[in-house]
Amino acid sequence: MSGRREGASQSRAEFRDVYNAWLRHHRLSAADSLFRVLDNPVSSALTWLVIGIALALPVGLNIALDNVGQLSGNWDSPAQISLFLRDGVSVETAGELQSRLEQRDEVAATRFISREQALEEFSALSGFADVLASLEQNPLPNLILLTPAGQYQGGSLASLREELEALPDVAEAVLDMEWLQRLNSLMELTRRGVLAVGGLLVLGVVLILGNTIRLAIESRRDEIVIVKLVGGSNAFVRRPFLYTGLWYGVGGGVFAATLVAISLWFLAGPVGELAELYQSSFQLGGLGVMGALNLVILGGLLGLAGSWLAVARHLAAIEPR
């Protein structure tokens, strides 16, 4: 009776011992691998830099796309419909039409631009003042700029345009969105491209790390043989190399985050000036703390993946002979 009780408590103690031993060796491997990585600062820094560049490229491009997306998003919300009025429509009729339009639910705001105003503005902005002055009559029509209410987007906006074009006084209603759609699809295309390039670079990172770890395994072949001779399991032998990969990956992630931050800082000045010239308060969005952390974690995971690849391929082949 007491024998079984003893057995149970003994196996529990044994489990705790095994767990403690496992934890202890993880700590030891992590520290030992870190010291080995730091012991060769130049070659380690080169590895970090390679990984950093490979990760920074897609991440940097993605941030650039995010910024462009944000910029075009700012333009997106006040979509406008330009109502070009028929030739014979007088300013008074146009004013009536404008006030009628403003009472509709779908319409947020309207602005009337008379053909004279339009001509003035156009000749001031275009620099064709002389040419325009030589014309016998004003070629421009009266115009109502209409801002739809916020909920109108995409398809419903298009049907609103059709409805407006059907009005008797309106010659043409133009939804000035096409260039934005083109920009958006161009951005989507670029995003896909960045994703593909990013995927390739991530694969490259895994292979680079795999190769680095393979070299580390080769250089410690004798040690591996001895450890296996005195009873080290495959997991025991594997652990330091997995940690080496992890440290390379984490370091690469830190380098990548730093590179992205430096590039953004480098670009922030000119972008700010450009934005000021366009009277925009646009500011370059960065990686942020979470983004940098994610990058470091991603680096660490890739490091683990690469070292796992190398360890799985090369470690089992090293057996005492």
Binding site: A21, W22, V227, G231, S233, N234, P320
Partner: protein, 221 residues
């Protein structure tokens, strides 16, 4: 403790390293294994520590039929056996202490216990003051004693040695053998492969002789 039951080992190239070997080695015994090089001494030791598997026959070590030990069980099995190698197999990039501590680190002892046991083992082989020395700075005899300290630090029941006096002069060889006898006196089963017949015949222990993979003398007590 160690029992060979008609064990044969044929290598892939068709070479018969061991033929129908039957040996019983009791607990507390010290046994010498001798024969010309190529007679099968090393193969026999390699079978015991599962660096090789027998082609035929049954091998039992410490009550465990080795046929039942799978690949995952091999490291654990090796941890139960202390092995002294002819070429020492030391890690030259770290000091004596770390070399001796290796089996304990693998087995997962906590640091205080590791320090205590390593120093006890180094004291036993007379190298306590050299624990911070790097192996390259040691003489051949000292390196071999580091190897012995590493083999016994985990307090194994079985100690194997493959030509432990291979490159040592007679005086040092006798000292090393004395060490093995001391371990045997405290209850460790010791099996030493050696071709130094002059030395081992003086020591009055059982001698197993192999010739071309066959057992010539010493199959049982």
């Amino acid at each position: 403790m160690i029992s060979f039951d008609r064990v044969s080992k044929r290598y892939a190239q068709g070479h018969d390293a061991l033929r129908e070997i039957s040996i019983d080695i009791a607990r507390d015994e010290l046994v010498f294994l001798t024969g010309h090089s190529g007679a099968g001494k090393s193969t026999l030791l390699r079978l015991i520590m599962l660096m090789e598997r027998p082609s035929r026959g049954q091998l039992t070590v410490d009550g465990r039929n080795l046929a039942t030990v799978g690949p995952r069980g091999v490291p654990r099995h090796r941890r139960d056996i202390g092995v002294v190698f002819q070429n020492h197999q030391l890690l030259f990039d770290r000091p004596v202490f770390d070399n001796v501590a290796l089996p304990l680190i693998i087995a997962g002892y906590d640091y205080r216990e590791v320090g205590r046991r390593v120093r006890a083992a180094l004291d036993k082989v007379g190298l306590l003051e050299r624990e911070r020395a790097m192996p390259v700075t040691l003489s051949g005899g000292e390196q071999q004693r580091v190897g012995i300290a590493r083999a016994v630090v985990g307090k194994p029941n079985i100690l194997l040695a493959d030509e432990p006096t291979g490159n040592l002069d007679p005086l040092l060889s006798a000292e090393i053998m004395q060490l093995f006898e001391e371990f045997n006196r405290v209850g460790v089963t010791v099996l030493i492969a050696s071709h130094d017949l002059a030395l081992i015949s003086r020591l009055r222990h059982r001698i197993i002789t192999l010739r071309d993979g066959r057992l010539v003398t010493g199959s049982a007590l």
